[in-house]
């Protein structure tokens, strides 16, 4: 045995005694805390059953299904053009982005390619729905740590984007604009110039949030080092989007597999952050929003002329086969595994939604955190309930 000095031994005994005293005075008892299903931090109706020891979470169990609509079953009795109406409602803040991977999968099976102009407009609308979606996150994250002002700015400035989307598609939230073989319609006159003005406003919004929120001492104290996700754990749970890029993983479907979209025509950057905590997830999303405005600006300058619809039959029958297409949606990677048997309706559609995977890490992530941090961690993971429950 190594000899222990008296000093060390006394210190050890003192520490033991202090611990015993604390345990005696503040006797902690197991307690189950129910958060939700109605809670502002849950973006819908998510319930979390947290087992607590004092202020610390021992186990957290998310309870889902309050909004399960069974889209995978419903798609089996709807024709391909009808499916886009349903899947618009998966992530309701960035609806257009939901349609794109499904349409791309159907086009892959039909061996149809959208004309270049349609691909450009698709990419522009895709990035605009990303901005409309993530802008709310940037405002909402501040609300979760106690700052109410940014969310009003977010709602104010999101309106500009929604107006532009409405001008093209006719719908503010559910455009239902994407078609197999192209788009429903062309851009209205004067839209390009207006959208450029809006992109300037959105960049100003990003600057505003950066000065208002990110430098704030309280915000930093509540988010830095909280909810750290190591890269290898994140990969195992299938995290995607800003959640995995904030853990230092340099992976973006837009850059690595831009099938059917015009991302390879643009000069842009994938943002990553090495820390993996709540703060870096916020930081990455802010940079991505700014990057998205730049992508839109460049695409607006280079839209090719031509039709927006390829020649497709009036009644769409998709040849037998299977296709999986994924895109980098506002919330993360979203994909559709479409199985066709040559019918008017899909045989089976597996919807791989981003939030389902992003939330599946929460039991692991919430273990050991303190109660107030549950809210900031969930807010920083950024999920939409419709995207979890489908």
């Amino acid at each position: 045995m190594t000899d222990i000095t008296d000093r060390q031994q006394l210190k050890y005994i003192a520490a033991q005694a202090a611990d015993a005293r604390v345990n005696l005075e503040l006797e902690t008892e197991g307690m189950t805390l129910n958060i939700g299903p109605q809670h502002p931090a849950t973006h819908g109706t998510l319930r979390i059953v947290a087992k607590l020891d004092g202020e610390q979470v021992i186990a957290a169990d998310p309870v889902m299904g309050y909004m399960h609509r069974g889209y995978e079953k419903l798609t089996e009795v709807r024709t391909y053009p009808q499916v886009t109406t349903l899947i618009n409602r998966i992530d309701w803040l960035g609806s257009f982005a939901n349609e794109v991977p499904f349409i791309l999968a159907a086009e892959q099976l039909m061996e149809v390619e959208a004309p270049p102009r349609a691909q450009w407009i698709r990419t522009i609308l895709f990035e605009m729905s990303r901005i409309a979606n993530v802008v709310l996150f940037l405002g909402d994250m501040a609300v979760q740590v106690g700052a109410v002002t940014p969310v009003f700015f977010a709602f104010r400035d999101r309106e500009h984007i929604l107006n532009q989307i409405e001008a093209v598609t006719g719908g503010r939230f559910h455009p239902n604009f994407d078609r197999i073989g192209g788009l429903k319609d062309d851009l209205p006159a004067g839209w390009v110039a207006e959208t450029k003005q809006v992109m300037k406003k959105m960049r100003a919004f990003c600057d505003e949030i950066e000065t208002l929120v990110m430098g704030n001492e309280i915000f930093q104290a509540r988010t830095r080092g909280i909810g750290v996700i190591p890269a290898d754990v994140g990969l195992q749970y299938g995290l995607s989007g800003a959640n995995i890029r904030a853990s230092g993983v340099d992976w973006d479907v837009r850059r690595d597999n831009p099938c059917g979209l015009a991302y390879d025509q643009v000069d842009w950057k994938v943002w990553t952050h090495p820390d993996g905590d709540s703060f870096s997830r916020f930081w990455v999303r802010l940079q991505e929003t700014r990057e998205a405005t730049k992508i839109v600006d460049q695409l607006l300058d280079t839209i090719p002329a031509g039709p927006v619809m390829a020649k497709v039959p009036r009644i769409i029958k998709v040849p037998a086969g299977e296709a999986y297409v994924e895109t980098e949606n506002p919330l993360g990677v979203m994909g559709y595994y479409v199985v066709s048997k040559g019918d008017l309706v899909p045989y089976r559609v597996k919807i791989r939604s981003a939030s389902f995977n992003n939330m599946s890490i929460s039991p692991w992530l919430l273990k050991g955190v303190y109660v107030p941090d549950i809210i900031t961690i969930l807010a920083s993971l950024y999920f939409i309930l419709g995207d979890i429950d489908r």
């Binding site: 889902m64 299904g65 399960h68 069974g70 995978e72 079953k73 419903l74 089996e76 009795v77 024709t79 053009p81 892959q108 061996e111 319609d185 290898d232 754990v233 990969l235 195992q236 749970y237 299938g238 993983v249 992976w251 690595d256 597999n257 039709p307 927006v308 619809m309 020649k311 497709v312 009036r314 009644i315 037998a320 086969g321 299977e322 296709a323 999986y324 994924e326 990677v333 994909g335 595994y337 199985v339 048997k341 008017l344 309706v345 089976r348 597996k350 791989r352 389902f356 995977n357 599946s360 890490i361 692991w364 429950d389």
Partner: protein, 244 residues
């Protein structure tokens, strides 16, 4: 791709260039799995699908993760290949007349890519985000036990996906830490995504179907528009009269 008009000189070189990476993947997998790999489908330049036996389902995951660098778990789900006993009954009557067929009884089972032998198949997808490649793995689920080994040991993230597949298809995952309902209430009976589980909304009220086929841009031929114009001229006054 399969059109006969394309020059024959171009297609083979193009395919060979895009193929080689996926062919190498398939070779490595079949070298490791041997007889356990029972089917594969390689779509040049698009995707690779591999079918393994149920017994090798979890070992395949472990090999993909540690041996081949597929660190990213994408999703896991299942397919029911039995044709719906309700046939086209659940489609709208308009769609059936468009097809020119009556509501037909259940046909024989047919399988998708990489083949199949049983009614249920589980399938999953994993990515290698460094080399930017991905593979879809399928396995037949034995009819008697409806059990396959769990992937939770290899990819912790498959936990919720397996709970979903258990709930929706009734497939058991051996070694899963706790198969319980994820979306549906605890007392729910049945497996909704099975093809023989009826969609009650459709049984109660028929669906209108494609009643309004939208005209495609650039699709208005002269004959069409002339007909439409003639039709409008003849029917409009009558319609207006009847409405009044």
């Amino acid at each position: 791709m399969s059109s006969t008009d394309t020059p024959t000189e171009e297609t083979p070189t193009e395919e060979a260039a895009t193929d080689s990476a996926r062919e190498a993947m398939l070779e490595q997998l079949s070298g490791e799995l041997g007889d356990a790999l029972v089917g594969s489908h390689l779509e040049p330049g698009i995707d690779l699908t591999v079918r393994v036996t149920a017994a090798a389902w979890a070992d395949t995951a472990a090999f993909l993760k540690t041996g081949m660098g597929f660190a990213y778990f994408n999703f896991l789900s299942a397919i029911d290949w039995m044709p719906s006993p309700f046939g086209r009954d659940m489609d709208s009557q308009v769609d059936i007349t468009l097809e020119g067929t009556e509501a037909k009884p259940a046909e024989e089972m047919t399988w998708g890519l990489a083949g199949g032998e049983t009614r249920f198949q589980v399938f999953a997808r994993v990515n290698d985000i460094v080399k930017h490649r991905a593979v879809t793995i399928k396995a037949d689920v034995p009819e008697d036990s409806l059990t396959v080994p769990s992937w939770v040991g290899a990819y912790a993230g498959s936990n919720w996906h397996e709970r979903e597949a258990w709930e929706m298809f009734g497939i058991n995952f051996e070694g899963h830490p706790g198969l319980r309902h994820i979306y549906l209430p605890g007392e729910f009976e049945g497996n909704p995504l099975r093809k023989d589980y009826p969609l009650l909304a459709r049984r109660v009220k028929p669906w209108p179907g494609i009643v309004d086929v939208e005209a495609m841009p650039g699709d208005d031929d002269e004959t069409d528009s002339a007909e439409a114009a003639a039709g409008d001229a003849s029917t409009d006054p009558a319609d207006a009269g009847s409405q009044q």
